[in-house]
Amino acid sequence: MARLLEDDAKRLLSEHGLTVPSGQRASTAEAAAAVADAFGGSCVVKALIPIGRRGKAGLVELCRDSRGARESAGRMLGAAFDARRVEMVLVEELVGIVSEHYLSISLDAESLEFAVLISGRGGVDIEEHARSVVRLGVSPSRELDTDAAVTAWTAAGCGLHAATLADATKCALAAFQELDATLLEINPLAIDSSERVVVVGAMLAVDDAALARQPRVAPLVVAGSDRATRPETELERRVADINADMTQRGSARYLELDGGDIGFLCGGGGASLLLFDALVRAGGTPANYSEFGGNPTEQRVYDLARVVLDKPGVAGLFVAHNITNNTQVDIVARGVTRAISDAGLPVSFPVVAREVGVNDDEGRSVFEAAGVSYLGADVSLDQAARLMVERMKAVGSR
């Protein structure tokens, strides 16, 4: 779910035939006032951060003149919402809205369709009108049927403008497909006083996996916007940089958590969930979540291990995987033990490794030579987690 900022999203939508308001970015209140003047004073000021429901959060304001725009921008700039700082506002010309409607498109993994949701009642309270939403499923191998779209908008109570709204829906779906989007939400999709359909509010998320074939979209993606409620931390950004090095094999994921004392260096996707639960059940407090695998190189393991160990308060390290199908345990052992050595940790720093699979005889030797408590196939993942917590308690009680 890589999100774009609203003005970038609108520019892409306008290239697909949708009408969007004119607008300009401003990073100071003065600049916002100047843009407002250029629009003749009345305008809309919106905090330019990649989240939905800004209207409800007071991050969208209608302004009558440039003074109002200056005040609105001044209030928003520097404010934090969901721990995301507002660094820019979007100042847009005021649209003479006659009626507000709703359109969203997403991927339905179950029905294998594009799910087009429309409602005659757009605006900030769309969730309260959930029952008014009409769903149109569109097979990926077919185009949106115009008649079906007209019927849907008519059913949504927009019979008067159903034809133009259906055209806009077709444009939106074409954009959704061509941009490899995962979510497009247009709210409101307005009818203005000239009976045009205008995209007043837009949220666009695209598929990270498709960015390689979307060279125009890729640079517009807001870094860390897949994080639901806060921007990336510095340690998380370091892991993003580690992953960006395409010369290194393997994948690394890292999520910094509040507090905690156990450095969590685990994989794969399912085992890391199980291992984290097991630590918590045993009374442990992990300082982070991580997940690495895909037969990583020693350097990638080392880099991730350094990030895990660098978080303040980390007083022990838990290294574990499911029995590996292709990840080489000896390489994991070299990366981890080199990181421990370079981090200059005290001898008492507990490290438990439960690493079984490809080349684990060699891996065991490397771990044990570095003083790591190595556990093999005869120790279950849950037992390994319990041992880790016991080691933490033994060190803490000294």
């Binding site: 294998l112 639901a228 999520l255 399912g270 097991a278 059940r281 979540y289 199908n325 196939a377 993942l381």
Partner: protein, 302 residues
């Protein structure tokens, strides 16, 4: 359905690094790999397996019906074309190992397969294994499948490829074995969701119980519970749903697999466990408990 049979196996992308390694390990285990496909590499061979430029060439050379299943190990952006080719030109079942194919492509390829009546496991599946037949489709078990998988009467279905093997290992250490195991893939858009995979395993001869590994996100566990409650799944199911800790973290964050994401209150492991338990599954919290629960169901000689 040719996933569980002795039919010939094709590997699309056999000349790549992963493709070569997977082919070697599949052959060493005893799998009947009859053909490989890589555009532009026709005429070569990999570990004795002939390579063809197209699926059509492979079918023409080996004869219709000689290929029962294809394992797709191609780059993410080539996945849609590879699956479209095999569905249209060979009409055989497919196991997709590739991870990270664009979501629009996955939607399209799954729709193509569904319309053609072809079974697809994955994408992002580590594979399918039948220890009793010494047949594996994909990297599952790596170079030493016997370390984790021994023949037996337990079916394994897992949203995590790694945990498919770890459960095999857990069962082995408990003196039990596996009839067949399916890694369904870590994404939310997959061809063979857990409930369907479990129904397939129930039909594999000798399966007396199913071990299931679930994760946060999707409605897969809810659907599995419905299959049990609705009576289409009658063998006993022992289920573990990992990721309880994710419930106390902000919604919308993905953990491990792309699909392991709680959104707007749906997809919580605690709800999934409750529904599975209400449907009649034995819900466990750890692999240790899973092993003892299964042993209790089938006795020592599983």
């Amino acid at each position: 359905m040719t996933l569980f049979s002795d039919s010939g196996v094709m590997i699309q992308g056999i000349t790549g690094r992963e493709g070569r390694m997977t082919a070697e390990h599949m052959l060493a285990y005893g799998t009947c790999v009859v053909a490989g496909v890589t555009p532009g590499k026709g005429g070569e061979s990999v570990h004795g397996v002939p390579v063809f430029d197209t699926v059509l060439d492979a079918v023409a050379a080996l004869g219709a019906g000689s290929i029962g299943v294809s394992v797709v190990i191609v780059p993410p952006l080539a996945t849609l074309q590879a699956v479209a080719d095999v569905v249209q030109q060979a009409g055989c079942d497919v196991v997709i190992a590739t991870e990270g194919a664009p979501r629009h492509d996955v939607l399209r390829l799954l729709a193509i397969a569904r319309d053609a009546g072809v079974a697809v496991v994955g994408p992002n599946s580590v594979g399918v294994i039948q220890p009793g037949r010494r047949r594996k489709l994909g990297a599952i078990g790596g170079d030493r499948p016997d370390r984790a998988f021994v023949p037996g009467s337990i079916g394994v279905v897992s949203r995590s490829g790694g945990m498919t093997s770890e459960i095999g290992l857990t069962l082995k250490l408990a003196g039990l074995g596996v009839s067949a195991a399916i890694s369904v893939g870590g994404d939310d858009a997959i061809g063979l969701p857990p409930a369907s995979a479990a129904r397939l395993l129930q039909a594999v001869t000798g399966t007396r119980a199913i071990c299931y590994f679930g994760e946060p996100g999707t409605a897969f566990e809810e659907d599995l519970a419905s299959a049990i409650a609705g009576g289409s799944l009658t063998v006993p199911v022992v289920a573990l749903v990992a990721g309880t800790f994710t419930e106390s973290l902000p919604e919308g964050t993905a953990f491990g697999h792309a699909a392991a994401i709680i959104r707007r209150g749906s997809g919580r492991p605690s709800d999934k466990r409750r529904m599975l338990a209400e449907a009649g599954a034995i819900v466990v919290e750890s692999l240790d408990d899973m092993a003892s629960a299964v042993a209790g169901l089938v006795g020592g000689a599983g």
